[in-house]
Amino acid sequence: MKKLKVATVWLDGCSGCHMSLLDMDAAVISLASKIELVYGPLVDAQDFPEGVDVTLVEGAVSSQDDLNKIQKIRQRTAILVSMGDCAVTGNVPAMRNGIPVQRLLQRVYVEGAIEGKGVPTDGVPALLKQARPVREFVKVDLCLPGCPPPAKTISGVIAAVLDGRKPDTNLTVKFG
């Protein structure tokens, strides 16, 4: 049987959703033989591959790099899932949205720094004006709110796709 190509992506989030993904315990063993993890913080691949079946996106779209990534990912993914509140609502990363970017960077990296004061520019992507949910940039096929969403909810989505079912959009979900 052809393995399901699954990717995970970590945009502006805390990695808690990836922790929840790993928290599926023994279920990961039965999934492991049926899926191939082709991209994400858990694997080495440098470039997002073509023809991915399911991509789980953690985090809000917050920088120019996030935006470039998510557009490419959308083109190369059949089912795009917003995993967790940051991807679905903006959540904590969006709490900066009322503050102008320059003011924010000044406060954190200059006023807030004890040494090495200065806004970093090398090797870091430029921040967008606001951190916003994935859905506001590209089409999202399924939203799993929660901070983080329960492991069972995440594994349930993968299991549904494996069974050839459409992931249940009437799942019991909870923000926060």
Binding site: S82, D85, V88, T89, G90, N91, V92, A94, M95, N97, G98, I99, Q130, R132, P133, R135, E136, V140, C143, L144, P145, C147, T169, N170, L171, T172, V173, K174, F175, G176
Partner: protein
């Protein structure tokens, strides 16, 4: 009770009601559930949140159950695809209007807006988030007002005016700029009228009003105490 007894149908079932009751009151007494947000048993209903909208046979538009009086022979539907769509959109509008960051809210897990979203199966919104820049009023020695989490249900306004008799809270400005305000647009801590009783905090359905020192998930509201107090007052009167 000398009020005239009347019969209405709710979702097809016959329910006994009394003249002067609202559809919501009759439904509750008849064991039917109609979802609500701005309603709180014991204070005057205002029909503000539009979550309790129901369909009444012979009337084209949906009516708020909390403020619509029962009439003899009325047939009410509480759950239809159209009403569910209305309710979902209402919750989505509330979620995008201000900054409801459940993950870091004192009321996470105990919030009526959050629960309503879950119950209605709202897993995302179809509109762009507003992300307004809003203030937090920390001037009161015991309590906090966070405008980011306020849904303008006015439960605090009503409970303060009707049960505490202080009428500290008001709504200020109009439309999307509407804000809850203490006295004549002052700081809560400067209010001469506030008795510090905390009824507004207990009545608040979200984390907009909370006790100082509460961390994430720690603010559990006891609005049943508001209803119990109102009932005792009613019995005394």
């Amino acid at each position: 009770m000398s009020q005239k007894k009347i019969s209405i149908r709710i979702d097809g079932a016959l329910v006994d009601a009394r003249e002067g009751q609202t559809i919501l009151q009759a439904a509750r007494e008849g064991g039917k559930t109609i979802p609500t947000l701005c309603d709180l048993d014991g204070i005057t209903p205002v029909g503000g949140c539009r979550i309790c909208m129901v369909e009444v046979e012979g009337i084209d538009r949906a009516l708020p159950a909390c403020t619509s009086p029962v009439q003899e022979g009325m047939s009410v539907k509480t759950t239809t695809p159209r009403l569910t769509q209305h309710r979902r959109l209402t919750v989505e509008l509330l979620l995008v209007e201000r900054n409801h960051i459940c993950a870091v809210c004192v009321s996470n897990g105990h919030c009526e807006l959050q629960t309503m979203a879950t119950n209605l199966g709202v897993s995302t919104v179809r509109l762009a988030y507003n992300f307004p820049k809003l203030e937090t009023d920390l001037s009161h020695p015991k309590y906090v007002l966070d405008h980011n989490r306020c849904i303008l249900c006015t439960r605090c306004v009503r409970v303060c005016a009707e049960l505490e008799g202080a009428h500290v809270w008001n709504l200020f400005s109009r439309g999307i700029n509407t804000r809850l305000t203490a006295d004549l647009n002052g700081k809560w801590g400067d209010s001469k009228g506030c008795t510090g009783c905390g009824k507004c905090v207990q009545a608040c359905p979200t984390g907009a009003l909370s006790e100082k020192g509460r961390a994430v998930e720690e603010m559990v509201k006891q609005n049943e105490r508001i209803s119990a107090l109102a009932q005792r007052r009613g019995a005394e009167a």
